[in-house]
Symmetry: C2
Subunit: 231 residues, 2 copies
Amino acid sequence: MNASRTARERVRAELTREITDIARRHLATDGAPGLSLRAVAREMGMVSSAIYRYFPSRDDLLTALIIDGYNALGEAVEQADAGCPRADHAGRWRAVCRAVREWALAHPHEYALLYGSPVPGYQAPQDTIGPAMRDTLVYGRIIAEAHEAGVLDPPAVFPPPPASFAEDAVRLRAVIPGVPDDVIARAVMAWTGLFGMVNFELFGQFNNAILDPATLFDHNMTALGRVLGLP
Amino acid sequence: MNASRTARERVRAELTREITDIARRHLATDGAPGLSLRAVAREMGMVSSAIYRYFPSRDDLLTALIIDGYNALGEAVEQADAGCPRADHAGRWRAVCRAVREWALAHPHEYALLYGSPVPGYQAPQDTIGPAMRDTLVYGRIIAEAHEAGVLDPPAVFPPPPASFAEDAVRLRAVIPGVPDDVIARAVMAWTGLFGMVNFELFGQFNNAILDPATLFDHNMTALGRVLGLP
DNA sequence: TGTACATCAGTGAACGCGCGTTCACTGATGTAC
DNA sequence: TGTACATCAGTGAACGCGCGTTCACTGATGTAC
């Protein structure tokens, strides 16, 4: 019977979700290295081996958490972008920057799993690539649309990128279509600048030095927007 | 006897060094979460409890590694700076950027220990603060000296930092004396931009996207130098 | 609609491993008179 | 210079813990005729 078949499958889907939820909570308190299948099973009220019906190994559970994390961040970024007038490209850039920072502050260990030091011995499989690009596509779209609208005006204070950058620029244009190499290089600068700042705040490099990171973050993201040529 | 007293102390110092050397090697292959006192003791040919004569706990060994790491990076940065003509501030900035990247690529796990996700449950003690600032002081000095020499000319493309940034700027001026708030904000931008790019390269965000990170790194660091106002 | 069979979820025991840390101890090295 | 004592380094056993993963199994749920 189809209905009962989906009944079993529904239970399975729900338990899978419950496992990742618990795992995510453990991640939030103990970090990735402390995530343990046995602890999750214990909290599920299951015997530890039962988890293997749902995830064939610890690494697969980690992968699920990584994918969920990228999707959650991606969605936050998409929503921040969607909340701005389409033509306000500078505002959209600032909004997505703020969204990244806020999501990171709200989920520090999850953020660390995505953008911190790699978990030793863990090799991310192909399925993480798509979700990992979700937020990146939003930045790319903002820049590409600004360029298309003719409002992108990068200040002429940098030397042009070297010719050898052209090859990587081709690949990156998949994310920011239609823009010249110089804009691509600036986009990477903005992208790494955004995450560099979030990393430093989250990983403690600002301790004892910058007590009001929010203010500086907003200002520096605005400045990076100007570097990009956003108005 | 003084001579024999230092004999015992010399052995102690050497064994301490040997322990941290082995630990550093383990760090390089297994990462921080996999660093184990027992494994180090085993390789020393000691019983595991003997390590406690040298380090009262695993965390203290980690602390020693962190301090050594900051010092090694700091020294690399200092030497890169020292290898440039004093008046070539832009060249000095590029040189220290390259030194950071090269050190990080040569010691990825050590770099991750310093600038990656915090080790869960580990709280860095006060003694790490000094070494942690060693490289920072070099960037600060370059900018301060360029400013003092009157060659710092930051492009007027950014809005001024908000008034509320003034408080943090006071603190940061301990590292970059004599410069206005706007330059301080730009310095943080360059600083986070530098490490943001190294982080992304090392932690895998450039995978499948940027195949020639060295070229883009050099170009973007030059661009960040221009943001700072270096010629 | 009822029955025979196949699939699946969860159990419980076990394997084999590693870890940090404590403690009472022996024997060597250094110190003071 | 020689002896009594104190300090220190290293031993070996133990405590108490946790982990990932495998495997033969039971009993429930679903499927096909």
